[in-house]
Amino acid sequence: MNWKGKIIIIIHLIILSGCLKDAVPEIKEYPVIKILKPTHIDSSGITLNAEYINHGSEKTIAFGFVWDTEKPDILNSDTTIISYQPEIKTYSIRLRDGFIKGYAYKVQAFAYTENNVVYSNTIDFKSLGSQYCPWQQLLNYNFRGIYYSFGYGYGMSNNKCGYILFSHMGDFYELNMIDNIIIKKQNFPNSNRQSFGLVATLNIDNNLYFICAKSKIFWQYSNDAWHNLGQRPDFNFSSGIIGFSVNGKGYFGTGSELYEYNEETGFWISKKPIPTSKVYSSAIINEGVYVIGANKEVFKSDSILDNWSYVSDYPGILEGQLIGFSLKEKAYFGLNYASGFVVNRFIWEYDPKKNSWNRLCIFPRYKLYQSNITLFTIDGKAYFGVPLSDFGSFQLFEFNPDKLIQKN
């Protein structure tokens, strides 16, 4: 036998040996799935990979990936579903939205079967960002002397700057987001080391107005000073409270009651009731007012506020209070209380033109109390502030709707 023949024999033996099957875990009723190392991690996103080691005896109904900054679960974390085909062993998907640059994520593959939900092993990776991510972490701030355990920061904005009012001690800060400057302003005058229960604010012509639960004084902040505007009407805070301004007038609502405040005259007028027993949140789009009421019903009124009509149902969870804001002709609601006072971190985008809802990638911070979230909007962006510790360290996130993936 010549050398060629010998080499051919050896190659055949190698191929024969390579065909032997690998050992795998014992077949179970549920599938055994394994997440593989993510690939192509760059500033545009990440490719997630998973492998079906065993398909199991039960039929897989849905298969996908779930990820979060802590251990993810499919009810409270970001997910993506992949078309499952029994003959396919390995799955990959390129994700271009929702990953914040510099954040460490945990990702798992998951499968729904007839009787079980299976989570794969967990893989950790550090994100280099994603093409369509509305979230960006800004610098951390340190508000010296602020102790969060005794209160929370309440966010508001006029047309120039954001403001944070801390309920304990009434520390008040102005945030210039363009120049990244924080200026300590005069403290809220009604604090006296007690939580004053700030519940609603609004902005009329760059003047800020404040409603507190524990005081009937109606406060205005303008020209770097606090002004006592006298008594406000009685509100039933257990029915929720909303505050907004439209057409140069301020409005506060609680339950079905709605009050208009005229800045020029200083008078309060009772408006036509909102057709709901409780209000959760509100947003203004093109002078149209949208209010989420009881039973997830969304009502709309024009700027005259004399005619409310039902437009849609809020698709998210509705417990406690929701945050609500509007940017660029769309409204955003979410981050509500969930069980155990843990914030549900989903935010829903409402498009009034299409009367449609779109669930966005989750708010990046994990397990926060809603009372600790500070929100204000300036120049087409929303800013979310959350405490990093109980002692003044404060993290600010920018929410930019321009960076959202356009799904429709």
Binding site: K6, L13, A23, V24, Y119
Partner: protein, 379 residues
Amino acid sequence: MNKLFYFILASILICNLTVSAQKWGYIVDDSSSQQVIIFDQGQRKNSLICKFQKNKNSDTIEYPPDVLDEYGFEDGRVFFSKDILIDSIYKKYFLERLAHGKVNLYLTKENNRNRFYLEKDSSLLELSKKSNVDLNSDFNYVLNDLINDCEYIKDAVRLAKYNKRSLSELINQYNECIYKPFPFFKYGINIGYSQTGITPSKASKDTLIKNSSFPDNKSSCFGIFLDYPLSFSNMTVHQKIYFQKNAFSYNIRSENIEKDIVINLMSINLPVLIRYTMPVKRISPFIDAGAIYTFNIRNRNDIYVFEETDNIIDIKIESDSELLTRHQLGYSLGAGLQIKVSYRNSIIWEVRYQKLYSLSIIPDTYNLNEFQVIAGFNF
């Protein structure tokens, strides 16, 4: 670098000592034989001159092949003065006799080249090295012509190499004319069936590992082997290199937790064995034993943990545990039959037991036991 220098220096010194070593021996001339101290000057100089002292205190004497008929060392090497033809000139040289009997074999070294001479019926014939140009000068061809009267050495003549050991062995076998396997370097391929068991190390402390019981894995293996003769005895150094894939899986369940240990190996195995083959003409039994080294080129050790709570199954995979080490050492014992199919080729059947130990300071590892049935063919 320093080590290399000292090694070379030491080698040179040893060589020099060897070359100029003085040994007791004898010289024979026309009239007498006497015991003397002979200088062993190396193969080439020993062929040209016999340098000796009659005793330790006497002067050194140098005799050319014209003066002496024969001299020899006490270790058995004997040199005879013979007329040989080199470059068309007959000249006397001291030729070392390598084999003695019906046919004598002689060796001399000239121009740094060994020259072998066969003496039969008092005529001396040089054995030229194999040449592709002139087949008539092929030493195997010449030998086959000269020593064809012993049927037992026909195969040996074809296998003989143009070197001192091989030709000496051949001529000795011819002179004795009894059957004896002619040792030669063999190589070939192996293919086999392997049944591999995996057992926890005795020092193992982890309950899961200690109590695990894997079913044996059945797989094929293939490779090549080399077989070197050891000093022209019936012993050889048998070296294999073979490739094998093993896969093991073990499952255990308790309450809501299920665990699977999954081990996938792809290994290159290198047993080095000392083999004794019985000198039987056609079917020769053999036994061997030796050490085995295994390199697991693929060594996937995964422990899957399935935790079930309210129909939600959370899978954890521990992939970083080294249940088997990448390098393993052990021993190998085997026996078999070597069936001759031609003067050079054989089919080999063997059974083998091997034990492979993980090389780890961590006690929670596994060892392998292998039982193999192997077929081989040497080219």
